[in-house]
Symmetry: C2
């Protein structure tokens, strides 16, 4: 498969958070995802939580967007809104997200 | 959602590999996945490759299995076979996989 065969791009966000913080991070994720899901080009998004509290990556979000451009436009919108909101709020516990856009290179 | 609502478990494997090694790792992944996909309880599996070579996690596998038990049984089988094979081969470049079983805790 090549990138051109796929009518979507996969956005993956890997959260390196402690197990005890996972629920709080998931709650914040839901708020953000609820808004992102209304943006043009959004297809779907799933937040996964590790069964084991020992796992290094407690939360992993896998989302699909129609295109990289649609995802970039939505992210820019969100980040602008988030910065405006953050200016009025106390700082939260910093997350350690690892985000990237991916193509499917093999599947079974 | 709770774990009990879901008739499957999500297996995620996050590979911390350099971009220049990603294709070789993907080729090895395909060999292993081809066998795993024949095991009882396997549903589907997708290997994702980062669009950006700067990404920390160049490859991410997201697979679905009917149950944790099915995944454990298949993994045990595979690891036994791999160890037997490895005993006859030169050591390969070590991967840095991060594996875990996950439940979906939110989706849009």
């Amino acid at each position: 498969m090549t990138q051109d065969d796929q009518p979507f791009v996969t956005f993956i966000n890997i959260f390196e958070v402690a197990a005890e913080d996972a629920d709080a991070v998931a709650a914040k994720w839901r708020e953000r995802a609820a808004v992102m899901s209304t943006k043009p080009g959004f297809l779907d998004s799933r937040l996964h939580k590790a069964r084991s509290a020992q796992g290094r990556f407690q939360l992993v979000n896998v989302a699909h967007w129609e295109s990289q451009e649609a995802w970039e436009a939505a992210s820019t919108d969100m980040d602008f809104a988030s910065r405006a909101q953050a200016a009025q709020q106390a700082t939260d516990t910093p997350l350690r997200p690892n985000t990237g856009l991916y193509d499917i290179v093999a599947q079974f």
